[in-house]
């Protein structure tokens, strides 16, 4: 395949960026999108030009590092997959592909396609954990949890924290991310006790960090590579309301 690539180049946080155009030949349909960029980088390095910086690690959709906006959509238009799981067979020979970084006020560009998503760490630190101390192992059947609850928690736990939901949202809202984390932890008995404060603190932290609020655009669910459902947001909102009222009374 022969491609025309328009790629966002930006030397550093402080400088202005712009799209630059590159031609790339010899791409195979079974190459992944990132393997295509590897080839471009080999080509650039060979000609003395600086390779394009982009984030990646596991290259199998589980770590959440890859973060490209491909032809206007975070992780590309192929649904249910991350950038690293997007294969070139979804494009056609001769295509022009525009590649940009995730965009959100809370995700400043570090270089080229690499953005700083440590704001998500700050949200997790505000409540995305269970405070139970590890000690002795419990008897296996001490805490019975129904399969429905386990499935609900597991499905939410599949959030890899990539931030595509935020990059796609016109408010740059982190609600789907927070909802996934709070459902994952809060529907289980071990995480239930802290759930009201967890929800309150994580949402407040997100506000503080410049993430927007949710106006039910639902685009977050559409771009989520893990298919996290917006019904988690509704569940979280109920807890939030109750917790906010309770905290006002207290």
């Amino acid at each position: 395949m022969k491609l025309k690539l328009k790629i966002w180049r930006q030397a550093s946080k402080e400088t202005q960026g712009a799209l630059r155009t590159y031609e790339l030949d010899g791409v195979e349909p079974d190459d992944s999108f990132l393997e295509m960029l590897d080839q471009l980088n080999q080509q650039l390095a060979a000609t003395g030009e600086e390779p394009v910086a982009f984030d990646h690690d596991c290259r199998e959709g589980i770590c959440g590092m890859c973060s490209l906006v491909i032809n206007g959509t975070p992780h590309s238009r192929v649904s249910g997959v991350t950038t690293c799981q997007t294969y070139m067979r979804h494009f056609r020979d001769g295509d022009t592909i525009v590649v940009e970084p995730f965009r959100a006020a809370a995700f400043p560009v570090i270089k080229d396609l690499v953005v700083d998503r440590s704001a998500l760490d700050e949200i997790i630190a505000a409540g995305g954990y269970i405070s139970v101390k590890t000690g002795h192992a419990q008897d296996a059947n001490d805490l019975l949890i129904s399969k429905e609850v386990v499935d609900l928690s597991m499905d939410a736990a599949s959030c890899i924290g990539c931030g595509a939901c935020i990059a796609a949202c016109r408010n740059a809202s982190a609600m789907l991310f927070i909802a996934a984390k709070t459902t994952h932890l809060g529907v289980l008995p071990q995480g239930d006790i802290e759930q009201p404060t967890r929800v309150l603190n994580m949402i407040r932290k997100a506000d503080e960090l410049g993430f927007g609020s949710c106006s039910n655009e639902l685009v977050c669910e559409a771009v989520c590579p893990k298919g996290i459902s917006v019904s988690n947001i509704a569940r979280m909102n109920r807890t939030y309301l109750a917790a906010a009222l309770a905290s006002r009374k207290a």
């Binding site: 390095a45 600086e50 596991c58 199998e60 959709g61 799981q85 690499v114 760490d121 630190a125």
Partner: protein, 463 residues
């Protein structure tokens, strides 16, 4: 951890990499780190250093590990005197998506659980290029079920991997490059129905479909072994402390729990055990005795190590070579896969040592690193890692050559039973093989004997 971070009890340095261990008066005293965005080299003093930096399967170039997974932390510690134990014990996992293109950068693991219901087969006839649907039952060889009737498709990882390689070497491999075997769910789909299979394996099947564009509900999966886990690592005692006082090593980075062949699911268990139940207590014990220690040579060590790191990165950039580190990584991977992989032999290992020494020399002279040191520069990060990987690769080959027996994942063709099973030599090799770095000469091999009190090791047999 994130809770403690939120409280300000700990700092997280994202996008920062440890590039050296600082040792003063024989004690671990801190690290030298490089900021991956600004390129700044900094040093950090501490009462103890804990490495939990993972395994080194990327020495094979293609592996199931994440792309930035690397050996530099443990290799730098080894260079500073920490012992490396059993470096050649590497696990090659049988159920991975085979390599397809020449630009392939990593391999994806398909869960082990698939072998519960999938049946592994190849065509009876070498070179049979018919699509699987057209190969009648009588012309298929379910070789694991045939060779190991009582274990069938559930033989251990090393046995499954080696047999897949043997079938492919005999020309029976399938797929475009003949480097794959089938994992077939037809029988399970008939027995259990689509819904049950989907509930059990749905997300793995989806992942397979995304990668290969083939539907495993309709056509057999193709799988091939891939480097996956390294049992070897830095030597530690029962407190998880290395031979350098104050240096603790946790998780896949140490050698401690898995012997020559890790069993499924036990790596995460080790992570939990090391991190929750052992290190918090043993590190406290160490601190009680040592937190007032003053080391006279600390200042010089920090200064020297920081300068050495700065010099190292600068010299990569100033090198006027021709080839990117990627090319060296490719070559390294091919030597390791061919000679220090699923099957090893004395001539192959000797060849590997010679090849890797040459590769190390070539790397020094010919590597080219674009960009600058004081910038986010993935090529520069990679160059340092590849240099360490090449050196570790040679030590792995040395260790494999030294161990004149087969055991677990280490299979020496010279030492096998008539059924092609591992032939152990417990008289000479019931030991941990420990390596100590020597700057000017070949490394020193020490042996820590393994004493079995309750049980005696037996030759395993799956036939």
């Amino acid at each position: 951890m994130m809770k403690q971070y939120g409280k300000g009890a700990l700092h997280i340095h994202t996008r920062k990499e440890m590039v050296d261990l600082v040792v003063a008066d024989g004690h671990a005293r801190g690290i030298v780190a490089r900021d991956l965005i600004s390129g700044e080299i900094t040093s950090h003093e501490a009462d103890v250093v804990v490495l939990a930096t993972g395994g080194y399967s990327n020495v094979y170039y293609l592996s199931t590990n994440a792309m930035t997974s690397n050996c530099s932390a443990i290799w730098r510690a080894y260079r500073k005197g920490a012992w490396l134990a059993n470096p050649s014990f590497a696990q090659i996992h049988p159920t991975c998506v085979p390599r397809t293109g020449r630009h392939q950068s990593k391999l994806t693991l398909m869960s082990e659980s698939l072998r519960n219901d999938g049946r592994v087969w190849v065509p009876d006839q070498a070179g049979d290029k018919r699509p699987p649907e057209q190969i009648p039952e009588a012309e298929r060889d379910y070789y694991l079920e045939r060779i190991y009737p009582s274990f069938g498709n559930l033989v251990p990882r090393d046995v499954a991997s080696r047999n897949a390689k043997a079938q492919c070497d005999a020309g029976k491999g399938v797929g475009g490059n003949g480097q794959a075997v089938y994992l077939d769910f037809r029988e399970a789909l008939e027995r259990l129905g689509h819904q049950v299979v989907e509930e059990k394996y749905g997300n793995i099947f989806d992942m397979y479909r995304q990668i290969t564009d083939e539907n495993p509900y309709e056509t057999p999966m193709k799988i091939y072994p891939a480097a996956h886990y390294t049992m070897g690592g830095l030597w530690v005692d029962y407190d998880l402390m290395s031979n350098i006082p104050g240096l603790f090593v946790l998780g896949e980075a140490n050698f401690s729990d898995h012997g020559a062949n890790r069993l499924g699911a036990s790596a995460l268990m080790q992570g939990l055990a090391d991190g929750y139940f052992i290190a918090p207590y043993t590190i406290q014990n160490y601190l009680v005795e040592h937190h007032h220690d003053q080391f006279s040579s600390a200042q010089t060590s920090f200064r020297d190590d920081t300068q050495a790191a700065e010099h190292r990165y600068q010299s990569f950039i100033s090198n006027r070579g021709e080839n990117l580190s990627e090319q060296f990584h490719h070559q390294l991977g091919s030597v390791m896969w061919n000679h220090v992989g699923m099957e090893r032999s004395a001539p192959g290992l000797r060849q590997a040592i010679a090849d890797l020494q040459q590769l190390a020399t070539d790397f020094q002279g010919q590597v080219r690193v674009p960009g600058r040191t004081n910038d986010l520069n993935e090529q520069l990060e990679k160059a340092a890692r590849i240099e360490d990987f090449i050196a570790l690769g040679e030590l792995m080959a040395r260790d494999a050559l030294n161990r004149e027996e087969s055991c677990g994942a280490h299979f020496r063709v010279e030492y096998q039973t008539e059924e092609h099973e591992a032939r152990r030599n417990d008289e000479q090799f019931a030991c941990v093989s420990v390596w100590q770095n020597q700057e000017a000469t070949v490394p020193l091999n020490l042996q820590e004997p393994l004493v079995f009190r309750a049980v005696t090791p037996q030759t395993r047999s799956y036939t």
